[in-house]
Amino acid sequence: MEQAFIRFEEVVKEYVMGEVHIRAADGVTFSVEKGTFTVIVGPSGAGKTTILNMLGGMDSCTSGRITVDGKEISGSTRRQLTDYRRYDIGFVFQFYNLVQNLTALENVELAAQICRHPLDARQTLVDVGLGDRLNNFPAQLSGGEQQRVAIARALAKDPKLLLCDEPTGALDYVTGKQILALLQDTCRKRGMTVIVITHNLALTPMADKVIHIRNGRVSKEEINTQPVPVEEIEW
């Protein structure tokens, strides 16, 4: 059997706070195929962010195995993890996290300059619909526009894997939809593997795969053979 692009095998993340042990991830197992669009859903506190952070090389797991494209992430050194984030991962946060003192274009270029084969920063911004706002500072952009810059920044690195933690959490309905469409588009057009965390169960039809998380475990995995473009979903 061919190895899946992403594999989580019995991954455990335990936080120890004095006497209390919190298992944010309690034996998570799932896999994701290359070039697919995956949505992770679950109630608040279920462990979604924890899983994504481990997958993104920002946090380590307590036990279990995480492999991405045949490389084992779970056993990597700090340096290897940094390289992994640098070359393989694009991350989009709920709160954009742009560098305030750089313009939109510079924020994207900042990420591009450390990659081996970056996309053209200007073009990426044009692609996310910000061609006329290149020289604006984050403070001059709306939330949705900032999030697009953040996505452009992630995309410009041309990563193998795009991870988004509630990218629409701080946005209104329409803007949120545009952002999701942009992500879905990216996946389809570039064949990039995209994983998105959301609270919104209504969004599940747009994904190739939906992973339900509950109490730190995968409670259900669904596969949509016919994913719906996000524009057609109403919630």
Binding site: N97, L110, I114
Partner: protein
């Protein structure tokens, strides 16, 4: 006040313990240093005053060239305001080879404090000083034999002491002699080693040399700091003058009847006073301020106090500025939280509680710690250094002025908590909604360099960010520059001060007054004696060269026809040479043009003018005159003579005036009588070096034995005395340098810490993007390095200015400190600052490396 606010405060302190600690330590340093230095001089004076009180140091002494009788002392004891009066005898004597002050053991005044052993009980026991025992190489229990032939000769051949051999039963120190250094005597050569005190009954003379008085009710005052003390003593002295005249007259008559007493005796009685005869003998009624060691201490502690006045203030300002920055930025960082608290409906007071509490906790704890450490350690350390070097004093007694505590602690709290309060107020004035929204970062403003695309486009993004960060936040920029610059400036000043003070001794004695010794010649020396003496000198292999001159002490007054203020420089040593001698001064005196407190090797030398007087640089400066200006010379008899000052010459210690005999005659109306010979030692056997101390002592003895020679003094001993006095300052300066270094380190640490915390989110973002640790850290470093370089450069300039100002403040009249800072001081200060910056950056590297990306990015952007 909701109790959770306390919890919040405590958590905040724990969470930001680096910031809290650096704030606390900064306050500790500032308060400790300020209060400690300020208290040093009071502690020193307090300790010494208490010592004086315990040992009943005399308040007034009465000297008379003719001696004082038992009855004189009795009458003195009956005067109003006199607590006790005691007659005392003291003579120069020899113990072995050593010159000692032979004195009696007092019962009521000037009590010696026994350090080892006990007070004499039998008549043939004596008390002395450790220095005497060391010089004689004997110990307690051994005997010493006194040779009083000098005093006998001066007493008309009658001996003054019955027993000559004494058993040493103890060592002591006396409040009359708190300095290790003693005056030279008219007897023989060399200096007095110390005192030897024997029971009174051993003396065979019927008169006292001095009467010591202790006045009533003066112990409550500190004799060094309370004017009331001096006023009371002056008052008493004035009241005593008539009695003095009356008693002196009686004594004169009595002596005229007894013919055995000679002129010689009078001389002996008044060591220090010039020769007297029966005709002008009178009572000298003097206060403590004529006691040499009392004065030395007074001058030294005053210098300490000057230094403590100015310097810590600068230090304090730098620390306060840094605390202020820290608090302001802390409040700004937490605008969001302030907003939500306000939105919750908490009162302004409740919201400010956390920040004010934080500031108060840091500044009060730090300040109190600083007081506890600073006010004990600093005075103790400095006092200890002092007493070690040149004083014989008991250990420090602590004292704390509430005023010093209040203002040092008050200023620190005000700076820190005041900043927090001000920042809170401005934040609270805004409506919650504004606070909750991220602070608009001056939208879209581009900084200047961006308009130079040629340069700008070549910069990496992180450089661009750094430049924008630097230029956009002007307040932060200037505060950082001021903080770092202040530290560098303090370091420059500290190092510079040290050189300024120690250079001048080297320059003065190695470059300016390069002769080795001075010999006092009787003015009425006979021609044949003079010829013999010169022969004798020529025959001595140790003496290389000699030069005759006239030496006297004058006051120089600026002749200010126009202005109302008259400036007088007192105690200027006048040296007058004949025209032929003036040609030959070069090997004895290197007179170079004044160069504002900087020695220049190989500058052209000045010759002594024949139509005016050449003054030292400092006198010239104090008088505020120009070359060619008239001055007035005032001699010891208060006669004044107009003269012309031709210019100033390089000189650092004491005041000098050089002139030629021809002009002397023109000014004073009479030809100068020769009374001094300047000597240069030869380069020693084989030209290898100068004379050793023993050789010099032997030489001195040989010289003073020559007819016509009155005294002999080595320049070296003056140098040693100055060095000891300056050495006292060294401890203070080293302390200043150490404290400045600690402060510099803290300020840098604090600034870097603030930078890192403020950028936490950006740093985490960079890490998520995959920047390596080094790349991430350099994001902060670049700014730090730039600010450090700029701050250091600014600090070097500030230091130059601060140093000059400080020198002017602490310089005493008779010294000219070096005014120019050596390049090496700048280098030290700059290197130290950068070294600190570097080590702080190394620290922060680990901090940055361990930033928790997840934690930092999980929060909402502010």
């Amino acid at each position: 006040m909701p109790s959770h606010l306390y919890t919040d405060l405590l958590r905040e302190i724990r969470k930001t313990r680096r910031r809290f600690l650096s704030l606390l330590i900064m306050n500790m340093l500032a308060v400790g240093f300020l209060a400690g230095l300020r208290m040093t001089s009071p502690v020193m004076r307090h300790t010494v005053d208490r010592y004086y009180d315990r040992q009943a140091l005399m308040d007034v002494r009465v000297l008379c060239a003719l001696g004082l009788t038992e009855e004189d002392v009795e009458v003195l004891g009956q005067q109003d305001g006199v607590l006790s009066a005691e007659g005392s005898r003291s003579f120069d004597a020899l113990a072995g080879e050593q010159i000692v002050t032979l004195t009696d053991i007092p019962d009521r005044v000037n009590l010696p404090e026994v350090l080892e052993g006990r007070l004499p009980q039998a008549p043939d026991e004596c008390l002395t000083e450790q220095a005497v025992l060391d010089a004689l190489e004997i110990g307690i229990g051994d005997t010493l034999t006194l040779d009083t032939s000098d005093a006998r000769a001066k007493n008309g051949g009658e001996d003054i002491l019955s027993g000559k051999t004494y058993t040493v039963v103890g060592t002591a120190r006396s409040p009359l002699y708190i300095t290790m250094d003693r005056s030279t005597t008219s007897m023989g050569a060399g200096t007095v080693r110390g005192f030897v005190a024997v029971p009174k009954e051993n003396f065979t003379v019927d008169y006292y040399t001095t009467a010591y008085l202790k006045l009533e009710g003066l112990e409550a005052w500190n004799c060094y700091t309370d004017d009331a003390y001096e006023d009371a003593v002056d008052d008493f002295i004035d009241r005593l003058e008539p009695l003095g005249r009356e008693r002196a007259a009686m004594r004169r008559e009595q002596l005229l009847r007894e013919t055995t007493i000679t002129d010689m005796m009078a001389q002996m009685l008044s060591s220090g006073l010039s020769a007297v005869d029966l005709g002008n003998a009178k009572w000298y009624i003097l206060g403590r301020d004529t006691v040499e060691s009392y004065l030395t201490f007074s001058v030294d502690s005053a210098r300490m106090s000057d230094l403590a006045d100015v310097f810590p203030m600068i230090f304090f300002l730098v620390a306060a500025l840094s605390s202020l920055t820290t608090m302001t930025r802390m409040v700004e960082e937490q605008r969001g939280e302030i907003g939500s608290m306000k939105a919750l409906g908490l009162s302004d007071g409740a919201v400010s509680f956390k920040y004010l509490g934080y500031a108060l906790a840091a500044s009060l704890t730090g300040g109190l710690l600083g007081l506890a450490i600073g006010c004990t350690l600093i005075p103790w350390l400095i006092y200890y250094e002092w007493t070690q070097l040149s004083y014989l004093l008991p250990s420090a007694e602590f004292l704390l002025y509430p005023s010093v505590v209040l203002y040092s602690l008050g200023l620190a709290v005000l700076a820190t908590a005041g900043a927090a309060w001000a920042a809170c107020r401005s934040a609270l004035r805004a409506v919650p909604a504004v606070l909750l929204r991220p602070r608009a970062p001056m939208p879209g403003r581009r900084v200047l360099p961006e308009y130079i695309p040629f340069l700008w486009n070549r910069l990496s993004f992180l450089r661009k960010v750094s430049i924008r960060n630097l230029l956009r936040y002007k307040k932060r920029f200037w505060m950082t520059i001021a903080g770092i610059g202040g530290c560098t400036a303090i370091l420059v000043t500290g190092f510079g001060l040290r050189d300024s003070i120690f250079d001048i001794l080297r320059w003065q004695f190695d470059e300016v007054t390069v002769y080795d010794a001075e010999m006092g010649i009787r003015e009425d020396i006979m021609r044949s004696e003079q010829v013999n003496l010169e022969h004798f000198l020529a025959g001595m292999p140790e003496i290389g060269d000699s030069l005759r001159c006239r030496k006297e002490t004058v006051d120089v007054i600026a002749d200010t026809a126009g202005s109302r203020k008259q400036v007088t420089v007192e105690n200027v040593t006048l040296l007058s040479f004949s025209a032929a001698e003036a040609e030959r001064t070069e090997p004895f005196l290197h007179l170079q043009p004044a160069a504002d407190g900087l020695h220049r090797d190989g500058a052209a030398s000045l010759s002594i003018p024949d139509n005016g007087v050449l003054l030292d640089e400092k006198t010239f400066e104090l008088l505020g005159i120009e070359p060619g200006d008239p001055v007035i010379l005032r001699d010891s008899e208060e006669h004044t003579y107009p003269a012309v000052a031709t210019g100033g010459c390089e000189n650092y210690v004491n005041h000098y005036l050089y002139m030629q005999d021809g002009y002397y005659k023109e000014v004073f109306g009479s030809a100068p009588a020769r009374n001094t010979m300047l000597l240069r030692f030869s380069e020693g056997p084989g030209g290898t070096g100068r004379l050793s101390a023993e050789e010099q002592d032997a030489l001195a003895q040989k010289l003073v034995d020559q007819p016509g020679v009155q005294s002999f003094s080595r320049i070296d001993s003056m140098r040693t005395r100055f060095e000891a006095s300056m050495g006292n300052i060294d401890a203070v300066i080293l302390l200043i340098i150490a404290a400045a270094a600690a402060l510099a380190f803290l300020v840098l640490f604090n600034l870097t810490n603030i930078n890192v915390t403020e950028r936490l989110r950006e740093l985490a973002t960079l890490k998520v993007l995959g920047f390596y640790d080094g790349e991430t850290a350099s994001y902060v470093y670049r700014e730090n390095i730039f600010l450090t370089l700029l701050g250091t450069a600014a600090g070097l300039f500030m230091g130059r200015w601060l140093h000059r100002w400080l020198i002017h403040t602490i310089e005493v009249d008779y010294l000219l400190f070096g005014r120019t800072i050596h390049p090496k001081c700048y280098v030290y200060a700059a290197v130290l600052t950068m070294l600190f910056s570097l080590s702080v950056n190394v620290f922060s590297f680990f901090y940055i490396r361990d930033i928790d990306m997840v934690g930092a990015l999980a929060q909402k952007q502010e």
